[in-house]
Symmetry: C3
Subunit: 349 residues, 3 copies
């Protein structure tokens, strides 16, 4: 992929070398995200952060990533009811808004809408999620987290053993992750779900075509014993026609510390695309895992910042310039506080 | 008008030399809007972008204009129900909010509200639209676009020939444009609307008093033959007491490429205040005009950025300093990408 | 209190020397708030301004305070319905969002929620109001205003004479102010309210335990004669189970210029936490007081900016560095405009 000026609409745009390029760029963003260094490389650039569907965490993550590179953020949340009611096409909206910024991140409830918007935009567009369709930066941050977590364990994505657990039918993130994994080799995937919420057959085929071993099961405890990663997901109740149906499945595949200790290899990494459903009847990842150092779920969101910084840097062609425009950090880095003195018992880092 | 420190509430504040001053300042903003140069002249200044009525495009345009001059933006969208319910007066809101910023842009659904707010504000206020009343920056960007489009055609606003088409009764933008045009000389205006949606008589008189030729008609095709500009507008259905009434008029004056080719002089400029209504039953400017280089509607919104930058620069008295505080642009200018390589077939520039 | 890295959750954290430290730091912020000097000490730092309950003035005040120190602001307004519906815990929200910013300001309708959030946050959290519980920066700005107003009158907080008027039962601000005043000595407090809206007994006891003289009454005119400050409050109708009850009390303790002239000592300071209820039936502070130079209510909100800048500077440990990172101001300071030329007859400064 030729990053400078490109739209980032789908993970299907990414070849293995493109992923490698994003991840090595993300690595170089760590000191800025950690506030040990400060760059102003995007000074004066403007991100149009257009969230036609609310998603606080994703919106703030993109905005903060752009700020950390020195740029400004103009934002919108929710449908522009005014323009919609007045009959404006998405393409016209794109033509107007792209005149105001240097890059646009867009989220929209309708599948395909971001690609339509991008086709009329005069600046690069990043898909921040278009309904059930794509959310490429989430998929990339998941894979980036897998790679980083495995690093310290002497393993790589090639040869990965992973269990995906929960709602594999409606979970957009596991679908995208399967597609990305099919670019790698020699992977063992255990798909754990109720039969009714199974991974779509086409995706299973994609992985098998890539030479991976895929097992389908509804037995959690038998499936998490010899894997590097347990990737848990929430029952996507909002995608069920009948929400009462969702109640049948919620809480069915719970992981807690006792189950982890009994069934998992030591140092098995626990991931989740978040939000995790912490209501008692769901609780797919029990809070008693919060002190487990292998719970990587908040490292995932931290890594999201790095991946998004990398995407901006590559699209605007400044990845090689970030350290040229460094400045001194002037304030106390709150992340360097010793945990004991901060009254932050839940700090999981 | 004495710009430094002034409120911008109404186009009636503007004499011809004031307009000239805004437009020549807007010209000088072009390199910054185009990202060929970068200025930080408003470093540290804060815009209070107070949109008590939602309007994504206008809000983002003002905010981006301020960012492009180096300033910061604090924002609010929607009625502050909390303060309203608690009985706070608009003047008190102004007294408080004006303590937080250096200039305020305000939109509000109620006519006259922005002037009331400004009367109690301790910083300059720009009217970003107060109901059916005023939206001066829109009127200025329309006139600025007319001037720029005519320039390449060897014509000027003096001597302009323009057709205004559609809902001339409720369309705030055409009303304001008529007022501005009355400051110029020797203009021919054809007003094309259903009789029931005709331009208010007082505005017709204002233009005739200014020595202009005004024709009133409901025949589109006979009216667009010898004009420099066709200024099309949307049926403002939200202003009709009975929305079913609006359906009677919607779609009545459609312009498309076939009609344009048959009836218009070559290079007749097409304008519209946007959003254009692209629903099939309306479609006042057909999408088949999108590849017509004379369709100036997205140059209008681009010009809006320049005009708003100019207003900020004049009010805060930095118009003469913008190039003193220039910095290098560090990122790849997305607007310089060759169109062919961007996958942006709808790019109309 | 050890400010660097601390959460600011409650005024009960503050000892007298801490208050002194905040106020002397706030004093040093005045030139930046007044735009006679410009500092960029927090260049590159990000405030997460998380308002899960809307409050335009408080949100903009925190955001502007951070901008005035050179930092960036990422923001959210309203409940994140998406995460709530999906069952995310407040602690998880904190773990995620604190990865994106250097400090968080949070408002939330539920008492105790901000402390819960802070317990899981990896960066310092400032309580911007948690329901009926705490809003420490409001209490500090009230006390700071009292101190500043008294300064020119040769008086101090020790020895203060103050009347608190209105809804003393539900008014969070007067509760907090009483707690702060109990750190000082020799204060005379007159509590003026309907019997049903009296100050909670525990707070009266707290003040008496501190050695203060407390009088409880429902007679306004007899109570404002020999005080330094009249602190008026709104009937908090939103806290009444039966809103019709609120109507019984609204408008009962009105202060206007005639009553002020007849009963108050000259130069008695008038304060109010805002918004004041300016509806005819309420009108606890009549608009005819707006030209009274002792009306300090908008100096209160201006002081809020200084106090919030001070809190950020202390928490991020840059209070001693603000003047090291100064830059020239480049734009015309709108606050230096002579009032006569601005059409701002209501300017009360």
């Amino acid at each position: 992929m030729d990053f400078p000026g490109a739209h980032i609409l789908s993970i299907e745009q990414f070849q293995r070398e493109d992923i490698e390029r994003v991840f090595r760029t993300a690595d170089r963003m760590e000191p800025y995200a950690q506030r040990t260094r400060l760059t102003r490389v995007l000074e004066g650039a403007i991100l149009g952060n257009m969230f036609f569907e609310a998603s606080t965490r994703t919106r703030i993550s993109f905005g903060a990533a752009f700020n950390l590179l020195g740029g400004e953020v103009r934002e919108s949340v929710g449908m522009d009811s005014s323009s919609l009611v007045k009959g404006e096409s998405l393409e016209d909206t794109a033509r107007v808004l792209s005149g105001f910024s240097d890059v646009i991140c867009m989220r929209h409830p309708e599948a395909g809408s971001v690609a339509r918007f991008a086709s009329a935009s005069r600046v690069p567009v990043i898909n921040g999620g278009d309904g059930s369709n794509e959310h490429p930066s989430q998929a990339l941050l998941d894979l980036y987290t897998i790679e980083k977590e495995l690093q310290g364990r002497g393993r790589t994505v090639d040869g990965l053993r992973i269990a995906m657990v929960g709602d594999l039918k409606f979970g957009r993130t596991v679908h995208s992750l399967c597609k990305l994994l099919s670019l790698f080799s020699n992977i063992r995937v255990v798909l754990v779900s109720p039969g009714e919420l199974a991974m779509p057959g086409a995706l299973v085929e994609t992985m098998r075509d890539a030479g991976h071993w895929v097992t389908v099961t509804d037995n959690l405890e038998a499936s998490i014993g010899e894997v590097d990663i347990v990737y848990s997901t929430r029952i996507q109740e909002e995608r069920f026609d009948d929400r009462a149906q969702a109640d049948l499945y919620r809480g069915r595949f719970r992981l807690n510390q006792a189950i982890y200790t009994r069934h998992c290899d030591p140092n098995t990494v626990i991931m989740h695309p978040l939000p995790r459903d912490s209501r008692l009847e769901a609780n797919e990842l029990d809070p008693d895992l919060d002190s487990n150092p292998n719970l990587a779920i908040f490292r995932q969101t931290d890594n999201g910042l790095l991946v998004r910084m990398a995407l901006f840097a590559l699209i605007l062609d400044v990845a090689h310039l970030v350290d040229k425009y460094e400045q001194d950090i002037r304030w106390r880095n709150p992340r360097q506080k010793p945990v004991a003195s901060t009254g932050q018992p839940d700090d999981v880092r």
